[in-house]
């Protein structure tokens, strides 16, 4: 059996709120603004639905980067959801940074339904960052690696 | 040099212009100071590249009549920039012949410090052989 060094293709999970960012991703799609296929989007009603647990779970299962997108502060479909999400994610990311996880693996970006370009640009940028960071070894469950 | 098709591709690559974006409004020709001296008019450059008739383009008078003033580049509403296309065609010719009008060593003496950079560069491109 030969061991081949596989080309690194990151796994990236994007949580997108239904009202702004998911629609922004749709707009990126209908405008044919490409970004790497490594990004997979999970639809949530609001950024405030994103539990830190989901993010850690993604890392545990082998994600190399997790990005959360929501409506711009002030534009939340539910008025205040993204304000809570902003605090939660700030604290969580700070904690991950504190325990030595590369800061670039997590990101929050506010993307409105009109910002297809921003969505695609953000994803391109984020994927590039993850490529530069390489495989996530600090948070993953090694058993999940194949 | 390769086929006409390849040349057209090279023009696209050098210029960074997508000629298919042209909506044929003619603003480039409207704005061109050398219009009357040109055999192929600025708005037609685009068609020659699309039709891959590079032979006519490189043999045209226009190739050397374009001042590279970039008025068409500035005003083009569609980002097509005919000035860049003709500039690219010129480069094809220049690259092919490879014989410069001046050698690099001769240049510094001829320089006027007041001369705008862009003029210098475009002059180079046209008179190099």
């Amino acid at each position: 059996m030969s061991i081949e060094k596989k080309e690194f293709r990151p796994k990236i999970v994007a949580f997108c709120c239904n009202w702004c960012s998911y629609a922004g991703a749709d707009l990126a799609g209908s405008s044919r603004l490409g970004y790497p296929a490594d990004v997979k989007i999970i639809r949530v009603p609001c950024s405030c639905r994103v539990n830190p647990m989901f993010i850690l779970r993604a890392f545990e299962k082998g994600a190399d980067g997790v990005i959360m997108c929501g409506c711009h502060p002030g534009d939340c479909h539910y008025s205040t959801g993204n304000y809570y999400a902003r605090r939660r994610m700030t604290l969580l990311f700070s904690m991950l940074d504190y325990i030595g996880v590369e800061n670039g693996r997590t990101r929050v970006e506010w993307v409105s339904a009109a910002e297809g370009v921003k969505f695609s640009d953000t994803m391109n940028e984020f994927v590039e960052k993850i490529y530069s960071l390489g495989e996530n070894v600090r948070l993953g469950d090694l058993r999940c690696r194949s | 040099m390769g086929s006409e098709k390849k040349q057209a591709e090279m023009i696209r690559e050098i210029s960074g212009v997508n000629p298919l974006k042209c909506m044929k409004c003619g603003k480039c020709s409207a704005t061109c100071p050398s219009f009357n001296e040109m055999d192929i008019k600025p708005h037609q450059f685009v068609s020659y590249v699309i039709n891959e008739d590079i032979e006519s383009l490189v043999n045209s008078k226009s190739l050397w009549k374009c001042l590279s003033c970039f008025a068409c580049v500035e005003r083009c509403p569609r980002d097509v920039k005919p000035g860049k296309l003709i500039d690219a065609a010129r480069q094809l010719v220049v690259r092919q012949k490879g014989q410069d009008y001046l050698s690099a060593d001769e240049i510094p003496e001829l320089l006027d410090p007041e001369l705008p950079q862009q003029l210098l560069v475009s002059a180079f491109r046209r008179y190099r052989r």
Binding site: E60, G74, Y83, L91, F93, M95, V101, R107, R143 | -
Partner: protein
Amino acid sequence: MQELKDRARELLADGTVKRVLGWKIGDLPYNPEPAYFETEESLKDFVYNGFCGANLSKYMIEASKLDGKTMVCLKPCDTYSFNQLMKEHRVDREKAYIAGVGCKGKLDIEKIRKQGIKAIERIEGAGICDEAETLKIQTVYGEKTCAYADAMLERCHVCKGKEHKIYDELIGESKETADADRFDEVAAIEAMSPEEKFAFFQKELSKCIRCNACRNVCPACSCRKCVFDSTKFDSSQKANVDSFEEKMFHIIRAFHVAGRCTDCGECSRVCPQGIPLHLFNRKFIKDINELYGEYQAGEDTGAKAPLTDYTFEDAEPSIVGKRG
């Protein structure tokens, strides 16, 4: 201590309280344990000394369900926890008779052991009324001494103050013990490189045996059922099987108590593996203070908790990469 014992006897006798929640003598001189005393008779085992570090406020969750009042002995720092529990509707103020007990710093047997003092038979100077600055420790190998301050729990060096935030009566004197900055340890870690940080926590957390002592003792971890025991998140875990799970557990535990943790330090005190778990909670407290304004959980039952509050101008999460 005698004063406290007498008062407990009185309150039991006149029926003000049905039971007393305090500490009883352990099997070793340094391990008193929390206990209920329902009769004057049983009070003979009651003890209150430097080793009574246990925060009794969490016991009031269960005591609130019992008939009649419970006299609960709370040190100044414990009263923050009681307040926080009251805010969360977990304890019933009416069911508690709070004896605010004095504190001159609590002792850490590990610190004594670290000084090479082993096989301890008897300790003098740990009493609450003792003015002694040193502990006299009788061991199998003879008498040893140790400065009181050198044997104190880490948390007492960064004490929030000896003022009781809630009480029915105060018993006993306190002595200020704070002599270090509460966030120095956190700041030191923050200053490390990512590799050093990772190595530090990897080393500490790999000691975790998931005994759940931290969770069980924590007054903020008061959930009827912990998410790590429930099927709701597909996160129930019986044991650590990889290097990530304890990280996940401790991060989430700290996150769940963020803005609610009073920094009572019980988690670190009870950890059988000596993991400095308070470093997680204190990191959140430091961030909250820096980003959203000073906040002390349990100080004021009316204040909005930082994670259930926001301002329009809150820092963006990207600040994490920009600081320091």
